[in-house]
């Protein structure tokens, strides 16, 4: 039986409307050689044979249970308590779809509400949404929302070069064709003080990342001064932040951020080949009605009992249609659940402890690494769990040597995004890196000059 629902007559009618004679003519612009490629598959194999082959292929992978890893740059390896997997694996959550019907979705709605409440507590914001796809799209939504908050009158986004390069690329992709300008990050260097000078009457928002992509922590007074300057010019301050860092350092709400967003993968999510991840998003109440995505609210039913519903839906694309500023009507519910369970399991003090471990281990690593001949820290500025390290050789060479000779996954090569940062490695240390692993990295890097 054919599963193609169109008949020859249907296809002929459609071709007539388009104004071409045949399907071949329709695809005439595709080079001949690419049009109907021969798919040369090997002979079929049995299931055990296929599994054996796939397992052999998978064994070529380096896995982080057996390999020390110092790679971060936006995706972080933190301990995930077993309870996270147990809860998100429950079929009530694992298979649940859109909780539009509160009558049958109280569990999902309550967990999203609790997730939102915890994100608000972590960021110092008044309201959070049910999440976005990842940190990059959350930031793009923040930029679009800031333009919306000016009722479309301000169309420039001033973005620090310290924002994750991939996030900046996504903001540009997201806003292309929307008559928005993105500026501030072109030369790869932005200081908080110079960002304020770039704000003009057309600026919708200033975007900073804290800690920034290089690991630096900006001081709350400097960010407060930026927030004041941005607000005085009538624009919004958007802060992208590592949620683990917020367990230890001042929430952006304390220094005047209007929107706080970021990647929530670190909260109970694995690295998982890059997804699914979690874009968390929160704002001050003044801009609540401009926020994209779903929001779950707490209410009472007709008996006066507590209940949860999707709320403020008139903002959303399915009601607001062409006037909506965002087409996001969905969220990463399962990853938001993982984050909620993670934060609940750790609690306020546990999250702080994770952040402290990252901070102290990263500082131990930085002290040891910068003492090696040929190595130095990019700057003396305060940092959290990542630090930019100048190396004696190109980072790609060093990383190859580390993996091949020492079985270590090295740090991120900053030169690929910042051409002026040759031989600079972004080294990430989390609570998962033991002292032995750090010492091994130091020993390995001390041999780079001669060996690599």
């Amino acid at each position: 039986m054919s599963y193609i629902p169109t008949t020859d007559a249907d296809r002929a009618a459609m071709l007539r409307v388009i104004g071409v004679e045949s399907v071949e003519e329709l695809f005439g612009d595709v080079p001949e050689a690419l049009r109907y490629p021969q798919v040369k598959l090997p002979r079929q194999v049995s299931e055990p044979e296929a599994l054996r082959e796939l397992r052999e292929i998978s064994e070529y992978n380096v896995d982080l249970d057996h390999t020390p890893c110092f790679l971060g740059a936006g995706a972080y390896r933190h301990f995930v308590p077993s309870v996270v997997g147990h809860v998100i694996g429950r079929s009530e959550f694992y298979t649940a779809y859109t909780p539009y019907q509160p009558e049958i979705s109280q569990g999902t709605l309550q967990i999203i509400f609790e997730y939102q409440s915890m994100i608000c507590a972590l960021t110092g914001m008044d309201a959070a949404n049910a999440s976005h796809y990842d940190g990059a799209t959350a930031l793009a939504e923040a930029a679009v929302m800031a333009v919306g908050a000016s009722r479309g009158k301000r169309r420039k986004v001033v973005m620090s070069a310290g924002v994750h390069p991939e996030y900046r690329a996504v903001v540009r992709t997201y806003t292309q064709g929307a008559e928005m300008a993105v500026a501030g990050d072109q030369d790869g260097v932005s200081e908080v003080s110079t960002l304020a000078e770039m704000v003009d009457a057309d600026t919708a928002c200033v975007v900073v990342q804290n800690p920034d992509f290089f690991g630096h922590l900006e001081s709350p007074p400097a960010l407060r001064a930026l927030a004041d300057a941005v607000h005085a010019a009538g624009a919004l301050l958007v802060v992208s932040a590592d949620p683990i860092a917020l367990g230890l350092f001042a929430p952006p709400g304390n220094y005047g951020a209007d929107i706080v967003c970021g990647e929530g993968q670190a909260l109970g999510g694995g690295l998982s080949f890059g997804g699914p991840y979690l874009g968390y998003f929160a704002c001050v109440s003044k801009y609540l009605h401009k926020m994209a995505g779903r929001i779950v609210g707490q209410t009472v039913d007709r008996h006066g009992d507590r209940g949860f519903v999707l709320t403020l839906s008139a903002r959303e694309q399915h009601i607001r249609r062409e006037k909506a500023s965002s087409n996001i009507c969905s969220n990463e519910a399962l990853m938001a659940l993982a984050a909620a369970v993670y934060m609940t399991a750790l609690g306020k003090s546990g999250l702080r402890r994770v952040a402290e471990l990252c901070y102290h281990k990263a500082h131990y690593a930085a002290t040891q690494l910068s003492a090696l001949p040929g190595y130095e820290l990019l700057s003396e500025r305060p940092f959290f769990k990542e630090v930019s390290l100048r190396c004696p050789r190109p980072v790609t060479e060093i990383n190859e040597y580390l993996l091949d000779e020492w079985g270590i996954v090295g740090g991120y090569d900053l030169e690929q995004d910042y051409p002026h940062m040759a031989n600079t490695m972004l080294v990430c240390v989390t609570e998962m890196n033991s002292k032995e692993e750090i010492d091994l990295l130091v020993e390995a890097l001390s041999n780079v000059e001669e060996e690599a």
Binding site: R151, H289, L312, A314, R315
Partner: protein, 133 residues
């Protein structure tokens, strides 16, 4: 029964404007609030902002729709109805009175003459209703 106040004029997009000396007040019509059903939020402009005639200056959200609200005449916003923040239902209860949106200073008072009077506006609404709009 939808009302059409005779002491003011209208835009086909359902905004009303009433002159008071050299100032004016604007809001949305009884017909508009009736079509929207329960209003849950009104987003108002800032005092001091200026808008051209026909420019979007507010957004009204009801349980079933979100609609842009357009300036009936060009002018500078002098005051906004802050009561709507906590009591958006005033738009439903008293669209021509307590449910007003903004007070503004018309930049071109003669624009008033081009607007629909109550009779013409009522006719417009009836046509819109018949078209299923």
């Amino acid at each position: 029964m939808v009302k059409y106040a005779k002491d003011r004029r209208y835009l086909p997009t359902h905004e009303w404007v009433k002159l008071e000396g050299d100032e004016a007040i604007a809001g949305i019509s009884d017909y508009a609030q009736d079509e929207l059903s329960d209003v849950v939020y009104v987003e108002l402009p800032e005092v001091g902002e200026t808008f051209a005639k026909g420019e979007m200056f507010a957004v009204v959200e009801s349980v079933k729709a979100a609609s842009d609200v357009y300036m009936p005449m060009s002018g500078e916003i002098l005051a906004v109805n802050e009561e709507l923040e906590d009591s958006p239902q005033l738009v439903n209860e008293d669209p021509f009175g307590k449910g007003w949106f903004v007070r503004f200073r018309p930049a071109e008072p003669e624009q008033y003459e081009d607007l629909l009077d109550a009779e013409a506006y009522e006719k417009h609404c009836q046509e819109e209703k018949e078209e299923g709009g």
